[in-house]
């Protein structure tokens, strides 16, 4: 792919700058902060630990519980604190995108809790939250089949693009397709989409997202390596 007229001068298959910091929350068992363009997410993991309320306990596995929360000042118009339907949905969707990478059956009767706080919200909060959570899980020493890596691809102004900006998301023909995957097996664990598109184009957009995931995967591995070699 070649250089495009994207609003921020990125190439079609280029992601925004990404920074990763591991171990940012001292009391948590694992934590990470990921900046992705103007999106910023802190994720922290507690667990495996005793589960409250007790009726959520499962005899044969650990229960993974993810909270996705936007801080009141992370968006232009202040967001009232507290849950809404969107955060409930995203908590669930993120749980299901991380769960395939975990060995939950090895920690029966426990909970693994992940708190993801969006401190600055631009495009891609859910995918950035997944990337941060994945690093936090690794930092907590929780065994994983693979890191989970996430980014969105889509279409805007008739072009298929990796990692769309907010402006591109507002294009009349915009399609936004966030993906999460376990790069080693290529298994896709998150797939959502809004916008009208042919099934063939969906396949192409998933391919583009995969390219992005592979890049982020390398950065995740590097960040972990640096953390443990320092």
């Amino acid at each position: 792919m070649t250089k495009s007229e994207r609003t921020d001068n990125r190439k079609l298959d280029e992601i925004r700058p990404m920074k990763m910091k591991i171990g940012v929350i001292k009391r948590a068992d694992g934590s990470a902060e990921v900046e992705f363009g103007d999106t910023k997410v802190v994720a922290a993991v507690y667990g495996p630990r005793q589960i409250h309320p007790r009726h959520q306990e499962r005899p044969d596995r650990s229960v993974l519980r993810c909270r996705y929360n936007m801080l009141p000042f992370s968006v232009s118009d202040r967001k009232r604190p507290g849950y809404d339907r969107r955060s409930t949905e995203l908590g669930k969707v993120i749980t299901e995108s991380l769960q395939p990478a975990l060995f939950l059956e090895e920690f029966p009767k426990t909970a693994i809790d992940i708190d993801m706080e969006i401190t600055q919200a631009d495009a891609g909060t859910r995918t950035t939250a997944i990337n941060a959570a994945s690093l936090a899980l690794a930092h907590a020493g929780i065994p994983m089949r693979d890191l989970v890596t996430s980014v969105a691809a889509g279409r805007a102004n008739k072009k298929l693009l990796l990692d769309m900006t907010k402006e591109e998301e507002d294009a009349p023909d915009a399609v936004d397709l966030p993906v999460a995957m376990m790069p080693r097996t290529g298994k896709i664990t998150l797939l959502q989409m809004d916008g009208i598109v042919s099934p063939e184009d969906i396949e192409k957009i998933v391919d583009i997202a995969e390219i992005g995931c592979m890049k982020i995967y390398e950065m995740q591995k590097k960040a972990l390596l640096e953390k443990y070699s320092s």
Binding site: R85, R86, T88, E89, G91, K92, V93, E96, Q99, P100, L177, M181, M182, T185, G186, K187, I188, T189, L190, L191, Q192, M193, D194, G195, I196, V197, S198, P199, I202, E203, V206, D207, E210
Partner: protein, 259 residues
């Protein structure tokens, strides 16, 4: 909750391409759609798929438009499990599953652009029509995504516009003209288990197999909403196959039930 043994038997059979009720993997139970089931609603529908039964109703009210779409009407969709729908359903604040169900159906309708929101503008910036779609699960025997999606679009297509009186109140007794609905988005859930693709899972099957994609697609074969659910990952090939199966199935359902 499904007994562990039932679950194992279901999965063993699926691997062999079989189902306990002897349907084929891609075979639906009988789908029935009845509209106009509540006289008080602007539009309503009852959908049964086998023993699964859901009803949906459309109500309209006036509202202020969003600042960024000052000339468009608005819509909100909710799905609720009635306590009668299954022994484990309880009265109370919406559960996670209900929220997901409502949001997926909402997106399938919204993103298909089947509602012509510009025609629902009364006065730009000031007053627009708000469309409420309420979906209730009356009997849960699996495949709620398909059933609720069908009920929502059937109720929308059944709906008539209420009249706005001179003093600004809404007259729900004298309806006239249909809602501006173009197209028939259909929501289809395709489950996947060890490379097999299964349609229309009943309640026991649905508990045994959670991994699926839910696809909203349109008359012209385009897809307008897509969501993977469940605890396992899927390969790109599986996703492509399931997508195709969903779009093909939606065509059959559309042809058969919406002419």
């Amino acid at each position: 909750m499904t007994l562990k043994l039932t679950k194992e038997r279901i999965l063993e059979n699926i691997v062999k391409g079989k189902r306990l009720d002897s349907r084929k993997l891609d075979e639906y139970r009988e789908i029935r759609i009845e509209t106009g089931i509540s006289k008080k609603a602007e539009g309503s529908a009852k959908v049964t798929i086998g023993e699964t039964a859901v009803i949906a109703g459309v109500k309209m009210a006036t509202a202020t438009p969003y600042p960024d779409t000052p000339e468009e009407g608005v819509m909100t969709t909710s799905a609720e499990y009635l306590p009668m729908g299954a022994p484990e359903f309880e009265s109370g604040p919406p559960r996670e599953d209900e929220i997901i169900l409502g949001r997926i159906v909402d997106r399938a309708i919204r993103e298909s652009k089947c509602i012509d929101f510009e025609k629902l503008c009364i006065e730009p910036k000031e007053k627009v029509w708000m469309v409420f779609i309420d979906i209730l699960v009356m009997n849960h025997d699996g495949n709620l995504f398909d059933a609720c999606g069908l009920a929502a679009i059937a109720a929308l297509k059944d709906a008539k516009m209420p009249v706005l009186t001179d003093d600004g109140t809404v007259d729900h007794e004298h309806l006239k003209g249909s809602l501006p609905i173009k197209g028939t988005p259909i929501t289809i859930a395709v489950k996947c288990y060890k490379g097999k693709y299964i349609l229309d899972t009943n309640a026991d099957e649905g508990e045994a197999m959670t991994t699926q994609i839910v696809v909203g697609s349109n008359d012209d074969g385009t897809v307008s909403s897509l969501q993977k659910c469940g605890t396992e990952g899927l390969t790109k090939k599986e996703i492509a196959d399931m997508l195709k199966l969903a779009v093909d199935t939606s065509k059959k359902v559309r042809t058969k039930h919406f002419k």
